[in-house]
Amino acid sequence: MINYTENIRKISGDLLKSGKVDVVIGYKKGTLPGINEPFLARTPEDAQKLVWDSQCRLNLANYLTNRKENVGIVAKGCDSRNIATHIIEHRVTREQVTVIGVPCTGMTDKNKLRELAGGEITALTEKDGIITVTSRHGEKTVEKQDLLQSNCANCLHRNPVINDIPCADPVPEINTARNDAEIKAIEAMSPADKWAFFEDLLSTCTRCYACKNACPLCYCPTCFVDESRPQWVGKGDDPIDVRTYHTLRAFHCAGRCTDCGACEAACPMNIKVRLLTGKMEKSCFERYGWEAGLNTEVRPALDTFTLHDPEEFIK
C-alpha cells in the first residue's frame, strides 16, 4: 500500500504540475482509524496529502459527476467501471478524465474491523496484507483478506477497466464467476419468508439516504423521493415507504450497478442494501450476460434490447 500511496502522490503531483488536469480526486488520511476522507487536490502540494489503503470504501466516481474541469481521479476497479458508466451516461467526457488506476486488493468491512477489535478501534495499521487493530482490549492482527467487504471478496474486476496511468502492476483476479449464494438463499425462501426477511433487514432504516448519496449512479436532478406531483412515496419511517424507497433505488441502479459496495459501507445502520441491487445485477447477468461499466461503448442493460430477449413470463 505504501508504494500505492507514493505512486499516487507522484502521478497526481505530475499531472497537476503539467496542467494536464486541474484537480485530482482521491483520498486523504482520515481523522479516525479505519476510514479515509475523499479529497480534492488542487495543487501539487495538495497531492502530497493523497493516500491509499484498504479503508477507501466510497466510490470516487461519485465525486466526478457533472464536473466541468479536467479531472484526475484515483480509481479502483469498481470506481473505474462507474467512471465508464458516467461516460456512457454523459456525466463526464472521456477526454476530461485521467484515471489513475489502482489495482485493488479489496476494502475492509467496517463491521468486521469493529468485531475484530471487540470495541472502539483506537488505532489501525496495515502492512503487507496484514491489518492490526488496537482497542482498549488490546491489539489484534489479521490477514486483510479475512476482513474484506463481501463485494470485495466476491469481486470479479479488481483491476481498473479504464486505466490511463496505473499506479501499480495489475493484481491477479481472485474470482472467475459471480458468487450469488446470499441472493440464492433468499430466492429459495417462500414469499412470506422473503417479505419478512426484508422487513427485518430494513427495519432500522432511518431514510438518511446515505446509500443513494454514496452511489455514483444516483445523480438525478430530482430524485423520485423528492417528487411531489405526484408524490410516489411518503417521507417518514413507515415501513412501506422505506420498502418503496429501497425497491425503486435498487431498480434505478439495475444494469448500472458495479457492486462497489459504497452504499453498504455508507449505511450507518449496517443494512445490507446490496442484496437488492445485487439481485438486479444477478438478473442482468443471467438474462442478458450484462456486467455494468466494463467499457465505454455498450449501453447498459435497461437502455438497450435484443429482438429475442427472454420473455417466458409474458402471456
Binding site: L32, C208, P268
Partner: protein, 344 residues
C-alpha cells in the same frame, strides 16, 4: 443533594417496580447496536451499553409523528378542518440516558419551547419525562463533550445521575421528579458519606480520559459573514455526500418537514425529521434554491451548529460533543476538524 446507593440486584428490581408508575424507556440491544426503546414488561435497560447509534431525541421528537388529523369527506361535519391528534403523555422514565444527550435536550428545548410559540408535541412529551442519566466512565475517542459545556458526568437536564461504580450504582437525586422516580422504584438507601467524593473522583477520571477537544473562542469573535464567506467551504465539504446521517444521528438537530397523507377520506398531518443536507430542504416553489450546491448545505450545518446558534441563543454551540456524526459519517467529515478550520 441526596445520593442513594443501589446494589445491582436491587437496581433491576427497583427499575421494574418503577415500571408500575412510569412507562420505562431505555437502551436495549438492537441488531448490532443499542437503541432507546420503550421497555416491555419485565424488560430491563442494558446499563452496560456503550452507545446508541441514534440519540434519544426521538423520544420527544419522533422520526415521524402525527400532529393533526382531518377528513376530506364532505358528509363529515368537520370536513377539511384540522384536529389535534389525540395522544396520551403518561409519565415516562428515561433510564440510562447519557449526560450529553440530556444536555442536548436542553438545547433542543430552546427551539421547541419559545416565548411566542410552543411545540405541544415536543413539550408535552418532555414534561412527561423523568431523565435518569447514566454517567460515562469510559469516554469514546470521539467524545469531545467537555469542550461543549457538558461532559461525561454532567447533571444538566437530568433528574437523577446514576454512576456505575462497578459493584453497584450511586444515584444522585437532582430534582423532585428524580426523587419521585426513586420513591416509585423503592430506592431509599442513602449512600455513605464518601459517595459524593467518589462521584467527583470518577468524574475527574472520566474527564481526564477525554482525548478530543475543540475550541470555538475565535469563532465567537468573528462575524457570521467572515465565517460564511471564508474560502475553505468548497474544499472542507468536498467529501460530504450530503446524506442525512449526521443530522439524524445528532441529538441536537431538530429540523423537520410537515407532510399530509390522505387515506381515502381520512388523513394526517405529520411531522418528519428533515435534514439541511438535502436540496429540497430550501427549494423555492419557483425552482430557485438558495442552497443550490451541496457545499452550501454542508456549510449551513456547521454554521448553524457552531455560529448561528451561539449568536442567537448565547447558550454555547449547538453540539454536545457526543461524536456520533464523526463515527457514522460515511465520508469522514469530522466536525472537530471543521471547527478547527473555522476557529483559525
Amino acid at each position: 443533594m441526596k445520593i442513594l446507593h443501589i446494589d445491582k440486584a436491587s437496581w433491576d428490581k427497583g427499575v421494574l417496580k418503577s415500571g408500575e408508575t412510569y412507562r420505562l424507556t431505555g437502551p436495549v440491544k438492537d441488531k448490532d447496536t443499542h437503541a432507546f426503546k420503550n421497555l416491555n414488561d419485565g424488560e430491563l435497560p442494558d446499563m452496560g451499553y456503550v452507545e446508541t447509534k441514534m440519540s434519544p431525541k426521538a423520544l420527544l421528537f419522533p422520526r415521524s409523528e402525527v400532529m393533526l388529523t382531518y377528513s376530506t369527506n364532505p358528509h363529515d361535519g368537520n370536513c377539511n378542518i384540522m384536529k389535534e391528534a389525540s395522544k396520551a403523555y403518561p409519565p415516562r422514565a428515561v433510564i440510562g440516558i447519557r449526560p450529553f444527550d440530556a444536555k442536548a435536550i436542553q438545547l433542543v428545548k430552546l427551539n421547541f419551547d419559545t416565548e411566542e410559540y410552543k411545540d405541544p408535541y415536543w413539550l408535552k412529551a418532555y414534561e412527561a419525562c423523568t431523565f435518569v442519566g447514566l454517567a460515562i466512565n469510559q469516554p469514546s475517542i470521539t467524545d469531545f463533550s467537555t469542550s461543549c459545556n457538558t461532559g461525561p458526568f454532567d447533571e444538566t437536564g437530568l433528574d437523577v445521575l446514576v454512576v456505575d461504580t462497578g459493584h453497584g450504582f450511586l444515584a444522585k437525586i437532582l430534582s423532585t421528579k428524580g426523587q419521585a422516580w426513586a420513591d416509585a422504584a423503592g430506592f431509599n438507601i442513602e449512600a455513605g458519606a464518601d459517595a459524593a467524593s467518589k462521584i467527583t473522583a470518577m468524574k475527574k477520571e472520566a474527564e481526564a480520559n477525554i482525548v478530543s477537544k475543540i475550541s470555538v473562542d475565535k469563532i465567537a469573535g468573528k462575524t457570521v459573514l467572515e465565517l460564511f464567506d471564508a474560502g475553505h467551504w468548497e474544499d472542507t465539504a468536498f467529501g460530504c455526500i450530503n446524506c442525512g446521517t449526521c443530522t439524524f444521528a445528532c441529538p441536537t438537530c431538530w429540523c423537520f418537514d410537515i407532510q399530509d397523507e390522505t387515506y381515502g377520506t381520512q388523513g394526517v398531518r405529520i411531522k418528519n425529521w428533515d435534514s439541511c443536507m438535502t436540496g429540497l430542504f430550501t427549494m423555492h416553489g419557483s425552482g430557485h434554491n438558495p442552497r443550490e450546491y451541496p457545499y452550501q448545505r454542508t456549510r449551513q450545518r456547521f454554521m448553524h451548529k457552531l455560529k448561528y446558534f451561539m449568536d442567537k441563543y448565547q447558550e454555547g454551540i449547538m453540539c454536545v460533543g457526543c461524536g456520533r456524526c464523526i463515527k457514522q459519517c460515511p465520508a469522514n467529515i469530522d466536525i472537530r476538524e471543521i471547527c478547527n478550520t473555522m476557529n483559525q
